[in-house]
Symmetry: C2
Subunit: 274 residues, 2 copies
DNA sequence: CGGCCTTTTGACTCTGGTCAAAACATGTGG
DNA sequence: CCACATGTTTTGACCAGAGTCAAAAGGCCG
């Protein structure tokens, strides 16, 4: 019942059911004959293509079946802010609920597939099918929760800590979807990450190699392996104190003298002020 | 029709209707006989009292009729993060939609009044009364939009700019509710603001006096007057460049040499890189 | 192969975090 | 109503994390 069109998108018939939506978002147990009846058109989205345009009238929600998106808000001065990254199970366009206009562009970072749901129709369907109603509320709540998590990321004082939190969030979401909780591929550029984290893109680069030097992760281009999950989890909690960074450098004293000095500094001291 | 119990809360009879909710949130035009039939209990909330407890099971939404709240998330290490401030027209508890648990404490910053709406009952009512359904979606969308605005605030590089954006947001929300768009009273402590903005509370203090020295605002305790709205609006757009701060100092060359040097530096140069 | 973007690394400067202490406010109890 | 105690706000001084500018190295695509 799941293999017909669960969005891994083999068919180009381009249709899916309400049940599929429920499954993508993690409400598989709510699937029933009613939700099977509701169908939605699917759209393939090529890399770089926009699914929603900032300022365009809100009409539909887009349920991501496959692929990754970034949501970019451009303020009147042309300054861009990456509000977040979305993937399978997420919904694009929810911010349109507020004033009938999309709050940002949703750009595909890789070829993707989404189900398009006219909000009006979805609402009508939801009145008949409680699970679909639940779907919308769940999606909204998740979006809010997600934003709060982003705030936590940006609240971190140190750049390395922000990055650590970001990576852990990414990998956690992957794991929820059944993917690896160790390896990940960054679909977005360092610049995008920088924007989303509120730091300079050079700093993203530096922090990435720093985390690698600490022995927490391994970085190959956009492929990242988490070597020491526990360590990273501990490290991400460092909230204040420009001082003591937890590490204990990895095997091969790899890169720079700076690394070594820091690794040295870490010895004999616990965590920062708690 | 609005003066019966619109929440300014004279009666302790402690009830309001769905129509009241609609009015508070700005959906007054949707009011009808149907929404008049739905009643909700109201609760007076004393300063410092919690309306929702982080981790407590999500059962109700709370519609703010009067008063101000802060939403605080405490992470496992005890580090607190102020996720946002809510006031009349806002809804408390929406993040519970995601996983059935409140994501933070909602603390009253002053004596307040809220309408308590059991989510289950509200949902039933919404199925009968479309305007109430709309109410929930609007509230969710607004919450999301609000979070995105907070991200914009935190994305600002300079502390003074963050504060400027924060103040402008506050005053804009006041204006929406029909209050002054020049004067405001900060119900929250500098420490709360600091947490919400991701900066040290000392920096909030400094930035406040800086903005005052620039001539943008006047600060008296927690009472703030905006003296130069246009200037502030221009200033808040300064996104990069630790350098050039727009100002042109006010009358009395007040405080510090640092201020003067900055004011001097600003002369003869336009805005930052665009 | 050549242009263009992304990523990394370096060097320098400055903002803002931390530690400290004083000035203010607020509230409690005598 | 005042003295005391506690929390908030302001100011100062110092230093390091990170932003900016600059340039080179690495990838990607036509």
């Amino acid at each position: 019942m799941d293999n017909r069109m669960d969005g891994t998108g083999s068919l180009q018939s381009a249709r899916c059911t309400g049940s599929d939506l429920l499954r993508w978002i993690g409400l598989g147990h709510e699937v029933g004959p009613r939700s099977d009846q509701i169908v939605f058109p699917m759209r393939r989205v090529r890399t770089g293509t926009l699914v929603t345009h900032e300022g365009a009238p809100f009409e539909s929600l887009y349920f991501i079946s496959a692929g990754t998106f970034k949501c970019v808000h451009t303020d009147p001065d042309g300054y861009e802010l990456v509000q977040g990254f979305l993937a399978r199970g997420d919904v694009i366009g929810l911010d349109g609920l507020s004033d009938g206009v999309y709050g940002g562009d949703a750009v595909a970072l890789e070829d993707a597939t989404v189900a398009m749901a006219s909000f009006r129709e979805l609402l009508n369907a939801a009145r008949q099918v409680p699970s679909l109603e639940q779907l919308i509320y769940l999606a909204s709540g998740r979006e809010i929760r997600r934003k709060n998590m982003t705030l936590e990321v940006m609240a971190a004082v140190g750049a390395e800590v922000r990055l650590a939190r970001f990576l852990l969030q990414l990998v956690a979401r992957q794991a929820e979807q059944g993917y690896s909780s160790r390896r990940m591929v960054l679909r977005m550029s360092r610049r995008d990450i920088a924007s989303h984290l509120g730091i300079a893109h050079e700093t993203v680069s530096r922090s990435l190699t720093a985390l690698a030097d600490w022995g927490y992760i391994e970085v190959r281009h956009r492929e990242i392996d988490i070597l020491d999950l526990d360590g990273l989890e501990r490290f991400k909690r460092v909230t204040r104190g420009p001082a003591i960074k937890p590490p204990g450098g990895r095997g091969g004293a790899t890169r720079r003298a700076r690394v070594l000095s820091l690794a040295g500094r870490s010895e004999g001291s616990a965590v920062s002020a708690v």
